[in-house]
Symmetry: C2
Subunit: 450 residues, 2 copies
Amino acid sequence: MQSDRAKVITETARRLLRRGATPHLRKILDKTHAADLGVVFRHLPPGDRKVLFGLLDDPAKKGTILSDLDDDALLALLEEVPVADIVGILDRMPTDDVADLIGRLPEDLSREILKKMPRKGSLEIEGLLRYDDETAGGIMVPDFVAVRAETTAREAIESLQKEHINVEMPFYLYVVDENGRLVGVSSLRQLVVVPSDTPIRNFMNTDVVSVRADMDQEEVARIVARYDILAVPVVDESNRLVGIVTVDDVIDIIREEATEDILKMAGVGDEFVETQSVANSTRIRLPWLFASCMGGVFAFFIIGVFENTLEKFTYLAAFIPVIMGMGGNVGTQSSTIVVRGLAMGRFQVRDLWRVIGKEVAVGVILGCFYGLVVGSVAHFNYGGWALGLSVSLAVLSSMSLAAFVGSMFPMLFARFNIDPAVATGPFVTTSIDILSVFLYFQIATFLLRL
Amino acid sequence: MQSDRAKVITETARRLLRRGATPHLRKILDKTHAADLGVVFRHLPPGDRKVLFGLLDDPAKKGTILSDLDDDALLALLEEVPVADIVGILDRMPTDDVADLIGRLPEDLSREILKKMPRKGSLEIEGLLRYDDETAGGIMVPDFVAVRAETTAREAIESLQKEHINVEMPFYLYVVDENGRLVGVSSLRQLVVVPSDTPIRNFMNTDVVSVRADMDQEEVARIVARYDILAVPVVDESNRLVGIVTVDDVIDIIREEATEDILKMAGVGDEFVETQSVANSTRIRLPWLFASCMGGVFAFFIIGVFENTLEKFTYLAAFIPVIMGMGGNVGTQSSTIVVRGLAMGRFQVRDLWRVIGKEVAVGVILGCFYGLVVGSVAHFNYGGWALGLSVSLAVLSSMSLAAFVGSMFPMLFARFNIDPAVATGPFVTTSIDILSVFLYFQIATFLLRL
């Protein structure tokens, strides 16, 4: 429904742009939510984007739109915007989004912008840029409300009214000691509920869930999700409060990471870019298929080795699809369970053998069942126990091996800190294809010649 | 890191349980966060769970633990807990979690509980149970702060202090007219920042993002994510405010839906149950593989039809793996893009032909490229233009068809309101396997006999 709204606005905007109906366009831009404008801008051609961006007055809306654009579109749009105007827009954006945006710009442009920014802001941004993009430090905002334990509720509310108007989401109030070390947390809600002269010490919660600045963002997201909190404080190695990660960023991380995993497992890159052209999409997908192609060519040479067997028993070829298919599907099941289990924190890398053991057990049971089914089909259609047994054993070994390979690769990748999602898809499937075909012909050659 | 902590606690708890060290156990239970206890309980054997649950004093912690357990574990644990105690625990849980929990219990137990609950609570719960589980109504809480537009900031804060102590997350203040219809929204933060005698009318935001009670929970999650809000108000068909959906529930939905999609696509059920035994896991995965097995058997009969061709040109068999593999992988790519794109709201069902058209275009280009590669291998290894051409065309048609089938099935399923994630995996792969093999032998039979 909401996407429909953006679509209607996009179409209206394009029509009005063609007619040059500027006042009407301004009115629409004014009334539309920044998040919807983000979608509208992603759907417009570059030329229209520039015109519409020029018509926008609200720098906050401009900021949201810039954050939502792809890299190429962003650079094209900013080309003609004076640096002073960019600085004006950035001034109205949350600090973490500013750091993100600046990190995506070319070196010389970002340096120029940082030079023209107010000193405090540019120091903060440079501080944030120091952290790795995908860590707590990279996604935190340095704006938080921190007070000392002896502050009363009234004083805290007053300081909130005076100083912290620009704080992104001041729902928690952090309590620090004289060295800036995090010692407690309270909430805006508690502040208005307790008698106003109560010191925070008396009602603050000292069991604070916090994260280290170098913690991976996926882990941060898991913690926020597990403890149902709206923001998690970020501390440095001496437990000094350096920022907070807010729940809206956590939602984006969870969505992105899930999409990334899914796309990687299918071998279609790691970013879902809506505006991707056919050419772009082809370029990203072509190399992933190469592994599978090489695997297929390899399988072809393996079958070549067994040419004599195949010439004598042509019908062996008829079972290649089912043996490959069953192995491939079990392998996909196993690797999916492992990749998603790791991502959801359901098990750890050190559970390696327990996880693989369970998968192989499942693979063997499934292999026995389907080996019997497919073997019976072979036996009753060609009336040979040797063929039936060969096919049964091939299905069994292919499925067991697939469960092993499908669970082992992602676990091993994770152990060596390589993204396990990359390990599945083409990689697992290809090795299973080769192994299945080889084992099948090996077994059949042996049994049929007895 | 956090999971490690739960693991350490689990091991300590089991050791202390064996030694019967009750006072020590109580102390640990006291100090551990409810969310961590949830993980600990999931890892304990049923007997230990009962003992530990009996040692817990805090009903709020008990509530979190119950919410986190699987259905079987939940029922086993509640067996020996008196209904009055269950009511006491439910009293400390957020209303939406209570409704969830009661919905999972057997009819007679839930009726008994509702009877013993305070009248207001049971009416609210029954109200929530009316809505479908996976809609805004099913996940909302009926506790929200609603005031009239003429209320001043001070009055609003006072009413908050008096009445709304139990409200789950009172970060927004909703403004309603005399009929309870939603007209505006303000935040706790604005209340403390404006002069205290300002009526809310003067600073409330009238452009409220809201959702209908019957909206699907995935759509609700997308809206909360898009607008970066902490809670979204839920309204009935006359725009009357009936509840709110909070961001912590949205996070759970996003995680669950992503996991569900991934697992469904791989054909391993739709729930990631950590405690699933080998037997359970096998039971869930076995039927999914049946489609693939039937497909394989079907492919076997197709190849049987072409037995004459195969006997004359045995080497044709050697290319079955690469043709099937390439088709299967492109099909997986296409269906993944479509399923995830629909889930992320990147495109709609009515974009059917645009999406399929783009996928097929990509499939054809990739097919030409890999057709040439694999065809060359065939040509140079067997020195025949007819074989080379057959293999090339087979790869091309298999990959193009795979892109078509892989994108069309999920789009069609979505159009008929069937979950598109179910459509991919075994279903798409199997049809591609059959089509690929058939086309390959059809083309080869025609060309090689020329």
